[in-house]
Subunit: 392 residues, 2 copies
């Protein structure tokens, strides 16, 4: 059995106000081409299909068209789950009709316990959930209120769900999981985990690889780079498109999909690259360099999007900086200045979904007051989030 | 062939802030029961399925469940179109999968020209459209820009569309149309049509019955009462639920569905009643009567919703009027006063979707200023709407 593993399409997303839909459609066509060339038995989309719970109508229309091309026009099965960005109940609409053409869609916890059975594997599809969803599910299925209340963290909830999934294992088959969470190799990971409640990546508490050891292979979404995969068998495919400037700055930044081959003996994954139509290029140069034809004529002008930091810049001496740069470079999606008088780059707002709750408060406080939180204030914020975690 | 004709479900609608979803689900169960008892070959839903283009998640979940009960659990075909309240493109999501189980859904003009073929009939499904949609469709299909621009009114657009539908007629079969517009018996109708641009019912320009004479039978949505049906063969089923107090005040107000029997010789329709779970009762009484146990104990207290007008009322002599009435009657969805000092009922805001554009302006002006538009002002408003119509 051969599956194409992709995730985090985030249809409907914008980059600083610029629609990414054209870029996403271009990436989609490559995904479909790879799927057909590789003769895969299905396409796995591991969550964050849409960028938001209520996507705009262009996003809805575009996604419908993509699903149709895969599943109806090319008769390829789809294995899709919802991520934290999707509206689980809203995305669930039509699920029973999709199943008629082997379009398997899970958006609710209760749907995860019935695997898709193939001759060699059981494919369990576990959508993103909040510990509250898991509590509600077990309450509805006979758990006492006291026991349900003991489900505090995402780790508690996941262990419970995975135990019940494991109870459905057919020992004669491989066990595959599709899910959407932040999973790190172990507790002492580079992602700077300090305590369970504040350990977050992409806004979600993280889980560790050992929790998933009962599976032969795990296909995940949530983290947008495949280089964050916690092990050889617990994998992120990464998003097919670069979504922000931070990603464009990364050293390991190639986008693509995995082809996963499942046989009785082994499971292998092979990366297939997806090329951008409009690349996102980061420039950090002095003003004189940026407006020098010798420099800018080497750039893929009008064919890429540019994120520009003007170095050693005295802004008071220039007007219409953005307009001048756009005239040369075309689309400038982000423009920063490194002031000549301050040896510190002007900080741009970070994507909130990439921040932990306490870092979000830090940033909010800074952007409103211009000051940093004091040590005492930080302690108060920390305590509030710990208490909030407990209430769950 | 036997079809159940319903329309205007408006899932997600509220009555002065009170959700109608429970009532709509109750009506739905009766519709399904009638369909099964009558052994119909399908259920026609003639538009305004949702109440708004972006329905809330409860509405989406409820509608999905209803569709599932009809089409998947009971294997009954569905013939559904979008109305002016539905978001045509958004509702289109999943259409190709629905078709596999004979769930026929049209939301775009271009989908209307391919009928559903049965052994005895051709069923054309024409969703609500704006003249602009029709212009765009014909432009994309080779019409010159000049000709497309000559499509001004809804009448122009409809005549063009119906001509092309008629070109698909199989003379050996009956020709059925499902659509969603305001259609009156003729130009001199009681609906007070003055000119083509200002003739509106339910916010839409009206069409006349003679435009549809090529069809053997027309099943319509848009007008919420079946008593507005323009002829014996051009029918409104009405909505299954009362949506406002005005409807509760109507003399002819029974809600239900039509069972339409189509044979080679004739087409008949039979009305089947739907009962409310929580009725909407209109009371217009003096205060002393309203709070008199002899009077109110005759009312279906706590089992109905009440719209109450307190007659001959001196509001300055009473406090907590709403609270007192709610304690007696339960849910009071609307409360008006007929002041003892003014021999005129305090006017409540009319549902904007029931008003023509100029009446909407009238009402807005009145509610802001307390005055009526002068004759000159009315002329200006009228001219603006005529000009707007021309621009299309």
């Amino acid at each position: 059995m051969k599956l194409l593993h992709t995730a985090d399409w985030h249809i409907g997303r914008t980059l600083n106000g610029y629609s990414l839909l054209k870029e996403q459609k271009y990436a989609f066509q490559q995904i479909l081409k790879i799927a057909l060339e590789e003769h895969v038995d299905g396409i796995v989309i591991a969550g964050d299909i849409y960028d938001r719970a209520v996507p705009n109508v262009d996003a809805v229309t575009a996604l419908n068209e993509m699903f149709k091309e895969i599943n109806i026009d090319n008769h390829l099965p789809i294995y899709a789950i919802s991520g934290n960005h999707d509206g689980a109940k809203r995305l669930n609409y039509g699920r029973d009709w999709l199943a008629y053409t082997d379009f398997h869609l899970n958006t609710l916890v209760e749907e995860a316990f019935t695997p898709i059975e193939t001759s060699e594997a059981q494919i369990f599809m576990l959508p993103y959930f909040d510990p509250m969803d898991v509590r509600a599910y077990y309450r509805q299925n006979g758990m006492s209120e006291e026991d349900a209340k003991s489900i505090h963290s995402i780790t508690d909830a996941m262990n419970l769900v995975l135990k019940d999934i494991q109870a459905k294992f057919d020992p004669a088959k491989k066990h595959i999981l599709i899910t959407h969470f932040a999973v790190t190799p172990n507790k002492d990971t580079k992602l700077e985990l300090t305590s369970e409640t504040s350990s977050t990546v992409g806004g979600l508490a993280t889980l560790t690889a050992d929790q998933f050891k009962m599976f032969d292979y795990v296909m995940m979404g949530h983290i947008h780079t495949r280089f964050a995969s916690p092990s050889e068998t617990i994998r992120y495919s990464g998003s097919p498109v670069k979504f922000n400037v931070k990603e464009a700055r990364l050293k390991n930044k190639g986008k693509g999909v995995d082809i996963v081959e499942i046989s009785a003996n082994k499971i292998t994954h092979t990366f297939k690259e997806i090329k951008p139509q409009t690349d996102l290029i980061v420039l950090q140069e002095d003003w004189d360099t940026l407006i020098d034809p010798v420099f800018y004529k080497k750039q893929p002008l009008e064919k890429a999007w540019f994120a520009i930091t003007v170095k050693n810049f005295d802004r008071s001496k220039h007007i219409n900086v953005r307009a001048q740069l756009q005239q040369i470079y075309g689309t400038v999606v982000e423009l920063d200045y490194e002031n000549i008088y301050q040896d510190k780059q002007v900080e741009t707002t970070k994507n909130i979904s990439d921040l932990s709750p306490d870092a979000t408060v830090d940033q909010f406080f800074h952007s409103i007051t211009g000051n940093e939180l004091s040590a005492t204030q930080k302690q108060i914020v920390d305590k509030i989030f710990v208490d909030l975690g407990r209430e769950k």
